[in-house]
């Protein structure tokens, strides 16, 4: 009985933790020499976005937790610039996600290509 209660409680806690939105995520521009950026990536193997090379400087945009981002400026010899708060934006955008299944009774969203053609006629 006690074991069942404990299992139920652990499951409940686990489920609650899983449903939490998670850590604050920022889009951060990391700039430095090839070696410096590689050293950063070895420590934080994130996916680079928007990779640009200007002379000997390489810049990449990456998703980082606020905690990692705050610790970056003094490490690896890279410059870190916060571009925007991805977590805040995504919370805002959840308002633009349908809460019901609008197509449960049939149909599908109109194709934008065809729609555009009709608009011009």
């Amino acid at each position: 009985m006690l074991r069942d209660a404990r299992r139920w409680l652990l499951n409940r806690i686990h489920r609650t933790l899983r449903s939490l939105p998670g850590e604050k995520i920022l889009l951060v521009r990391v700039t430095g020499s090839d070696d410096a950026v590689r050293a950063f990536l070895v420590a934080h193997p994130v996916e680079p976005q928007n990779t640009k090379r200007e002379g000997r400087q390489l810049s990449i945009d990456v998703l980082l937790t606020a905690k990692v981002s705050a610790s970056l400026s003094s490490r690896f010899g890279v410059q870190a610039t916060q571009l925007f708060d991805v977590s805040a934006l995504i919370r805002e955008r959840t308002k633009e996600v349908s809460s019901i299944n609008r197509y449960a009774k049939g149909g599908f969203p109109p194709g934008l290509g065809v729609q555009a053609r009709r608009e011009t006629q």
């Binding site: 686990h14 933790l17 899983r18 449903s19 939490l20 939105p21 998670g22 850590e23 995520i25 090839d34 950026v37 590689r38 050293a39 950063f40 990536l41 070895v42 934080h44 193997p45 994130v46 996916e47 680079p48 976005q49 928007n50 990779t51 990449i60 945009d61 998703l63 925007f84 991805v86 977590s87 934006l89 995504i90 919370r91 955008r93 959840t94 633009e96 996600v97 349908s98 809460s99 299944n101 609008r102 197509y103 449960a104 049939g106 149909g107 599908f108 969203p109 109109p110 194709g111 934008l112 290509g113 065809v114 555009a116 053609r117 011009t120």
Partner: protein, 365 residues
Amino acid sequence: MSYLNVDEVETVLGNLAAQYLNESRLIRLPESTCEGRVCHAVWFGQGQPGTKDVFMIIGGVHGLEWGSCEIALNFITDLLDPSASTNGLQYGQKLFSGPDIANLRSAVEFVVFPLVNPDGRKHSQGGSAWRKNRNDTYSKGFPNRIGVDINRNFDFLFDFDTTLVPQSGVSASDDTSEGTYHGPSPFSEPETRNVRSLLDQFPSTRWFVDLHSCSGNVLHVWGDDQMQTVDSTMRFDVPACNGKRGKRDDDYSEYIDPGDLKQVDLLAQAFTDNLHVVRGETYGIQSGFDYGLSCGASHDYAYSRGALGFAVEWGHVFQPDWTEMQCVIKDVTAGLIGMSIAASTPVHQQNENGVWADASSTEPA
């Protein structure tokens, strides 16, 4: 209209296939996701499936990149509309004529899998910048250790500690707390196995596009090193090359067939040219390696099986407001149609400027 939720994506796919019974098939993927969701893809074309070259598109691999599903669904909706083959399709300033679309429809088959990772999308649409799937097998109860990056779980140089140079800076990890955690083994995840099953089911897949966001780029093979067309012994599948890949400007470069390289360049250019006409957006073209050293990515895996692989990084934010997202959908759909027309054009009819970029069909009638 606004962003589709996970249930709507699957419902819309089913409704589309039901509406166009004669030209499409709804494909149920063999594996349910970790949260028990069943996924579908759509095949469409003329004649029986598998009798022509296949152009495959997948989307929704990363949970937070919502618009990929809407782009893929719009691509299906527009091309399946019977009037498109007579009246054509227009996106902003870009017009594909009726004969353009009719020729494309008769030349190739399409397989589109809009939502590979519904669990990740569901979690992200709850307000989280979530990239991976929601497999909690390896998390030991820690919420930040849930999930595997599907686009690092394909069987392409998966074991980066062996296949790449040490300290390479590859964007893949064996740490479960990282967003690029690649899983315990290639194809450990049901979502990855579903994509593989589609490629198995359609061995005539010649072109493969994975929709991602967000940097305004089209990426092509290879992701593990710079490319060269001379020495075919320097290949991803040669064990003697292990430990040499992944470093810029050294002795190792990944081999690509010269004809394939030409096609890769032409198709990427066709994508960006057609996209640009819509409203003037300029997307870059980069190899996966120039974008960021990676392994286990879908488009490299697809090319390792013989399909020219691309990843489109659409837009400039992960979730644009819906008004801007509709513009992105038009941009990318035009790019994909232009690319597939170029792909279906026999090589002997292609030229430097590309017959698919015929000036007569780029302006509105």
